[in-house]
Symmetry: C2
């Protein structure tokens, strides 16, 4: 297990009836207790949140984006500013996405060849060239604990020819990523490379991708190309088919997914790590995830409500402010609305992961599943919350 | 001294050569060590800042605005949500401005009569009527520790006829404010009323206003109608003329002023309390006040600067982030830029007040004055800062 020397993954408990497991993923910046959700800090900041507040709501590992940071301020600047940990004011683990998804999701501006991708900068219109080697070099300078392979995420996961071609390219590029990662110091240099499985909505292409990607001895493996516009039921089907095929002794990371229900299905299939803009982007749009369901905090019914947004939540938004105050901050367009609701939504996501982890260890995951699926995906009104009877906010 | 029973003001030290004093203003929500700067939280939130962070940079007493909170969410809603302290998540002292300045600064929409002012809501265009009694009632419901009299702040402080008429109205309205404040429970009800001196740029009208306003035994007295567009040198002249005339045993509050130099002059004249949007509004526009002078944080010269914005500052922006990172957050339009720079600017203002206070107690205020006036009002470039030699950011 030499490859994972600095990035060990220990499974603490496995669910007896499902593929779920509770683990600890070691990094040079500390451990990540899994299953874990990673907040997204695209431009080296989780929008509007202070590092201390992130740590207090239970964030363990943060994400940043290679493409965005390459465009601004540039990896050389990041390096001179002390790397991503210094930039984010974050002493814990950080992962950088390779930008593969971002490059191809703006594919009208992107031209692809066997060697890499060329596209125009959304910042200043200049030409940018990404190759597997370049993306490895950029991520080396950014300095995250975990870096992602440069993959080709096909725009339409149900177009077999396109998905097949993207698969092939992804695998060839992974070979080159692995080689450059080694040249850059490899895992002994303090940075682990995760491979990304593609294959769209096709089970045989997914299996082929697992085989190719897992032929490399890497510290972790990701499932990419999921939740990119396909039907919701396809997400679960893909994850259920792919996750169990990935090496059991390495962390499995489902990229860009998603909602409490998605997490649950994926954890049952053996996924350990998640990231998504869901909690923070929804927060800035004033939607909160609560133990009663999803809530539009601008709802007029909250105007005079002196109770907490979620009486089961221990975050600062729920313990120091009433939902009536949160609504006031939303309707007046105050910055603090996005900040407080982001902290709340992240606390909700982290607390859910913590509950899943505890349930895996206790062997009670199935009871939790029923509760989560019943409660967490509903959209609820102020009346639903108020009727359920709450203590008022302290 | 029955009137100030709950709102005692103790002078700890007086400067031997100037009118400056170091005091402690007692409120039902704790003491305010003066001279003190009060951050402005117009709509019951200091934009983008968490209460804990405000306390940590040294904020003691916060401001909110009667007019804005009357329009949204309305004083009845604020009351039902537990009052301003609950809304702001702030257990310390709070002061509400009466809205007098705001009403008359949009005077094209405002019609004035002997009884009060009528104007259109900027939120929904509805008609709003403010009278002295109404403003007292609104502030009672908002629940701040200190409330301000409803005054008439003349739009042009150098138009003698206008200023004279505004003076007369302000004094008549103060009689009515005092009467209604008494009916509402007075100071024994836990809320102190401060009177506001007007008189524009005319020394005799200012003296007349001091006499009229101070004929009421109030817990504190404010100087209003300053820094409303007049020449900068007039600000100092007015404050120097008026402050010493106010009762020495009550806190003196200079409204809406301003910059480090203004503070210094006012403290020398015996002013104790200040408020202004300067630190927070400048922060959101990416201008920082530092020990070297004013800084445009977007300056390209900071791009690769791994040192702190201000090496003499102990705020989170200066101890956890480099100025290069702050510039990145500014140029990418990230929310955290405004939050971090607001905390920094507030820390700078509070630290200056703390240094003035310590110097008054130590009898060394004059030495500090020379330093502050030399350093704090300059606009400086990255080179000025970098040349002065700095340690790099931790």
């Amino acid at each position: 297990m030499t490859a994972t020397h600095h990035f060990g993954f220990d499974i603490e408990a496995s669910c007896p009836t499902t593929s779920a497991r509770a683990g600890v993923f070691q990094t040079p910046h500390g451990p990540v207790r899994t299953p874990a959700f990673m907040p997204v800090g695209t431009r080296a900041t989780v929008k509007g949140l202070m590092p201390r507040d992130l740590a207090e709501v239970g964030s363990q590992m943060l994400l940043a984006n290679t493409l965005h940071l390459h465009l601004r301020p540039g990896e050389d600047v990041v390096e001179r500013l002390g790397g991503l940990h210094a930039m984010m004011g974050w002493d814990g683990p950080i992962l950088t996405d390779s930008g593969g998804y971002q490059v191809f999701s703006m594919s009208d501006l992107c031209s692809l060849d066997a060697n890499g991708a060329s596209f125009k900068s959304v910042v200043d219109g200049s030409s940018v060239r990404f190759t597997p080697e370049r993306v490895m070099d950029i991520q080396k300078k950014l300095g995250a604990d975990v870096i992602m392979a440069f993959d080709h995420c096909p725009a339409v996961p149900t177009d077999r020819a396109q998905v097949s071609a993207a698969n092939e390219r992804t695998h060839l590029w992974l070979d080159r990523c692995v080689a450059r990662h080694q040249e850059n110091g490899g895992i002994a240099g303090g940075q682990a490379l995760f491979g990304i499985v593609q294959g769209g909505a096709f089970e045989d292409l997914r299996r082929a991708s697992v085989e190719a990607v897992c032929s490399h001895d890497l510290a972790g493996y990701a499932i990419g190309g999921v939740s990119v516009g396909e039907a919701p039921e396809l997400i679960g089907r893909t994850v259920r088919a792919v996750a169990p095929l990935l090496p059991a002794d390495r962390p499995r990371y489902l990229m860009g997914v998603g909602t409490p229900k998605d997490f649950f299905d994926a954890v049952l299939s053996g996924v350990d790590l998640f990231d998504c803009v869901t909690p923070t982007r929804n927060a800035r749009n004033h939607t909160a995830f609560t133990s009663r369901g999803r809530v539009n905090v601008r709802n007029r019914g909250f105007t005079e409500d002196a109770g907490p947004l979620d009486p089961e939540c221990d975050c600062v938004a729920c313990t120091r402010f009433s939902v009536g105050v949160l609504r006031h901050l939303c309707t007046t367009g105050e910055m603090l609305a996005g900040t407080l609701l982001s902290l709340h939504n992240l606390r909700f996501f982290h607390a859910l992961m913590e509950r899943m982890r505890a349930s895996i260890i206790a062997g009670t995951l199935e009871q939790l599943e029923a509760e989560v699926k019943e409660r967490y995906s509903r959209r609820v009104s102020p009346e639903d919350i108020q009727e359920s009877g709450r203590a008022t906010c302290p």
